[in-house]
Symmetry: C2
Subunit: 393 residues, 2 copies
C-alpha cells in the first residue's frame, strides 16, 4: 500500500424530497448570492428548478440562473458563467443536474476568482489556488462529480476534452434525491451505470500490491451495480434500485475506492477522444473502450483479471488455466454492458474505424507513453481502438 491522503468533506444529503433543503444547506455553508446552474429545459419543466429556487428564497438567499449546459460541457458556457458570476457578485454556485452541469459549475468556480483563462487549469498551465464554493442537486447517477474534486470540459474549438482536479472544487454539499433519476431514459441510465463501473475499474487495475481494503471496496461497488442496474432497466421507477445506484455512483468516485495505490485512467483518456469527436455519451464510449482495453492489457497481470472474474463476476476459477478465467470475466463484463443496452463496438456507437488515426493523434501521445497499469504508446492505443471497433459477444 502506498502512502495516501483522503479528504472528502462533502456533506451528502440523500433521499426523497431532499432538494427542498437546498437553501438551508447553502446558508449552512456560507452562501449569500447564488448562481443556479443547470442543463436542459427538463429541470424547468419537471418543476425541480422551481423547488430549488423556492428553497433559496425561503432561506433568504438571492440568486441568478444560467441554463443550457450540454453533455460534454463546453468552455463557451463556462465563460458565460464566469462573466455572470463576476457581474452579479455571486459567492456560491448550485449545480442542478448531472456530471456535465457540475463540471461546468466547477470550471466557473475556478475561473471566476482567477485572473487568467480558466482553461489554464485544464491544460496544466496553472494550479487552482482558490475557487467559489459549489453545491449540487444531482439528477443523474453517473459521473460522481457530486463527490469528487474533478472536472472535465470540452473546448468547442477542435473538440478537445481535458480535465482538472483539486480539493478546492469538491462540492460543499450534494443533495441526492433518487426520485429525480427515475425519469432518465434507459439508454442514459445505462450510460451512467457504465461510467460508475468504469470509475471503479480504473482504480481496480493497479500495480500496487496488498491494498486489500481498497480492493474490497471496489468489488463492493461493482457487485452492487451488477445487482441493481438490471432492476432499473427493467423498471425505471424502482426507487430502491435507483437509490443504490445513485449512492454507488458517489462511492465510486470520492476516491475511497482508489486510495493507497497507482490508478490507471487510460480507458477514460482513450474514450474522451471518442466523445470529443462524435459527441457520443461518455458512458457509451466507455462501454466500447473499457473491455477492449482489458483484452489488450490482461496478460500484464492475468491473476488480477482472474480475481476480478471470480470476486466480481462470480466466475469459477480455472486453476489449471487462470487466463481462461481472466478472459471469461472480461466477456461477462461486455455481455453485461450489452444486456443493459450499451453499444459494444464502433458500429453500435456510431464511430468509424477510419478515424482511428485522427483519434490517436488527438490524444497527443506522440512518441511518448501514458502512465497507469500498462504504459501505452500511440500504437497500443490504436490497437485498443481496433479491438473496440470489431468487438462482438
Amino acid at each position: 500500500m502506498n502512502n495516501f491522503q483522503f479528504y472528502s468533506p462533502t456533506e451528502f444529503v440523500f433521499g426523497r424530497d431532499t432538494e427542498n433543503e437546498c437553501g438551508k444547506y447553502v446558508k449552512k455553508h456560507g452562501g449569500t448570492k447564488v448562481l443556479v446552474h443547470y442543463g436542459s429545459g427538463s429541470a424547468v419543466r419537471s418543476g425541480l428548478l422551481d423547488r430549488v429556487t423556492k428553497s433559496l428564497e425561503a432561506a433568504g438567499i438571492g440568486y441568478v440562473t444560467l441554463g443550457g449546459v450540454k453533455p460534454n460541457p463546453r468552455d463557451t458556457k463556462v465563460y458565460e458563467g464566469i462573466e455572470l458570476c463576476r457581474r452579479e457578485n455571486v459567492d456560491f454556485i448550485v449545480s442542478v443536474g448531472g456530471g456535465s452541469v457540475i463540471d461546468s459549475s466547477k470550471a466557473i468556480a475556478l475561473g471566476t476568482v482567477y485572473d487568467g483563462d480558466f482553461w489554464d487549469f485544464y491544460i496544466g498551465r496553472a494550479t487552482p489556488e482558490k475557487a467559489l464554493p459549489v453545491g449540487t442537486v444531482l439528477t443523474i447517477a453517473a459521473a460522481g462529480s457530486e463527490g469528487s474534486g474533478d472536472s472535465v470540459i470540452t473546448k468547442e474549438e477542435g473538440g478537445i476534452k481535458r480535465g482538472t482536479g483539486s480539493d478546492l472544487i469538491r462540492p460543499r454539499f450534494s443533495i441526492m434525491d433518487p426520485q429525480l433519476t427515475c425519469t432518465l431514459p434507459p439508454y442514459q441510465t445505462a450510460c451512467g451505470a457504465t461510467d460508475i463501473m468504469a470509475h471503479v475499474f480504473e482504480r481496480y487495475f493497479t500495480n500496487t500490491k496488498d491494498v486489500e481494503m481498497t480492493d474490497r471496496l471496489c468489488e463492493a461497488v461493482l457487485l452492487t451495480m451488477i445487482k441493481e442496474t438490471p432492476r432499473v432497466i427493467a423498471d425505471p421507477n424502482d426507487y430502491q434500485a435507483r437509490a443504490n445506484i445513485m449512492w454507488a455512483g458517489t462511492v465510486a468516485h470520492t476516491n475511497i475506492v482508489g486510495v493507497g495505490r497507482e490508478q490507471d485512467w487510460n480507458s477514460h483518456g482513450i474514450e474522451h477522444e471518442l466523445s470529443g469527436l462524435y459527441d457520443c455519451a461518455h458512458g457509451a464510449g466507455l462501454a466500447v473502450i473499457m473491455p477492449a482495453w482489458m483484452e489488450f492489457v490482461h496478460k500484464h497481470d492475468v491473476m488480477r483479471f482472474a480475481e476480478a472474474a471470480v470476486r466480481v463476476w462470480g466466475c469459477q476459477m480455472d486453476f489449471a488455466d487462470p487466463e481462461k478465467t481472466a478472459l471469461e470475466g472480461i466477456k461477462r463484463f461486455r455481455t453485461f454492458l450489452h444486456d443493459i443496452g450499451m453499444p459494444i463496438n464502433f458500429a453500435e456507437l456510431g464511430a468509424r474505424e477510419e478515424d482511428i488515426p485522427t483519434l490517436v493523434e488527438k490524444l497527443g501521445l506522440g512518441d511518448g507513453r501514458t502512465g497507469g497499469f500498462v504504459k501505452l504508446s500511440s500504437e497500443d492505443v490504436a490497437e485498443i481502438y481496433h479491438i473496440a471497433a470489431h468487438a462482438s459477444l
Copy 2:
C-alpha cells in the same frame, strides 16, 4: 433505503512517517495553541511524542501536553484537560493515541467551550453546539474514533460508561502511520480487530431492506479483517496487513458502512457494562458478547444471518435449512475470535455469572426496551449475558 445525511470531513493522512507532518496539518486547520493529549508513557518512550511536538515547533505552533489517559477513559482526566485548555487558551487539541485518548480529547473539546458540566452531553442533558477542533495521530487500529463524531467516557464514580455523538467532534485531520501499530501486543491487536468487526456488524444487522450498497461495504470491511488479522497475529511487523487493518478500522466507523438504515448497537451497550465493571478491554468484551447476541436474535431474520454466513464467512448455503447456515456463520465468527486470541466466554474474560443482575441493573433498562434490530428487555439482556457466560467452540 432510508433518507440519510453523510458527512465525513476529516482529512486522512495515511502512511509511513506521516506523524512528522502533524504541525503542517494543525496549521492548515487553523490551530495556533495546541493541547497534545496522550495516554501511557509508551508514546514518550517510543519517541512519538517528541516527533509530534517537533513538527509543531517546526510549524511555529505553541503547545502544552497532558498524558495519562487510561483505557476506558475517565471523566476525571477530562476535567483536568478542560481546566488546562482554559488556563492556557488552547484552540486545538491533538490526540496522540488510540480511541481512549481521542475520546478523551473530544470530551475536552466539548467541555472547554461549554458553561456547564461536559457530562451533560453524555447523559442526554445537553446537545453539543460548539467544540474546539481536534486532530489525531492514531496509534491503535480499533475504535474508529479518528474518523467518527463519537466519544465514550466512563464516570469514575460508579464505573458508568456513556457516549455522545456530534459532527462537531469529528477530527479535522487524522494522521495514520501503520508503523506505530506494530509494537502493539497480539492481545490488544486482536481486541482492536474485534472492535472493528463489531462496528460493522452493529450496522449490518438491520430491519431496513434494500440497502445493497451499504451491505456490500460492510462485507468489504469484514472480508478484509478476516484476511488481514491472522497475518498480523502471525507477524506483528507485517506493515501491509497493519495498514489494511488500520484503514479498515476507519472505514468501519465513519458511518459509510451504516448509511440509509436502522442500526443496532445493542452489543456495544451490553458490552460497556462489562468493561465498565471489570475494566476489561472493550474489544475482549465484544468478543464475548457479540456472538452471544447473534445467537439470541438470529431467529428474528434467519436469512440475514445466512447472508452474512455465505458472503462474509464463505459458508455453503444450506437451501433446505437456512438456519443451519445462519448458525454456522455465527460459529465461524466465534472460532475466528478464539483463533486470534480473544476470550469467548465469561471465564476467559474474567467476568462472573453471579454479577449478571448487577450488569443488567447498571444498563438501566428497567421495564423498558432498547432500540435496534431486536428490541431487548432486561430479561433478554440477562439471557444474552448467560449465553455469553457459557459459550464454547
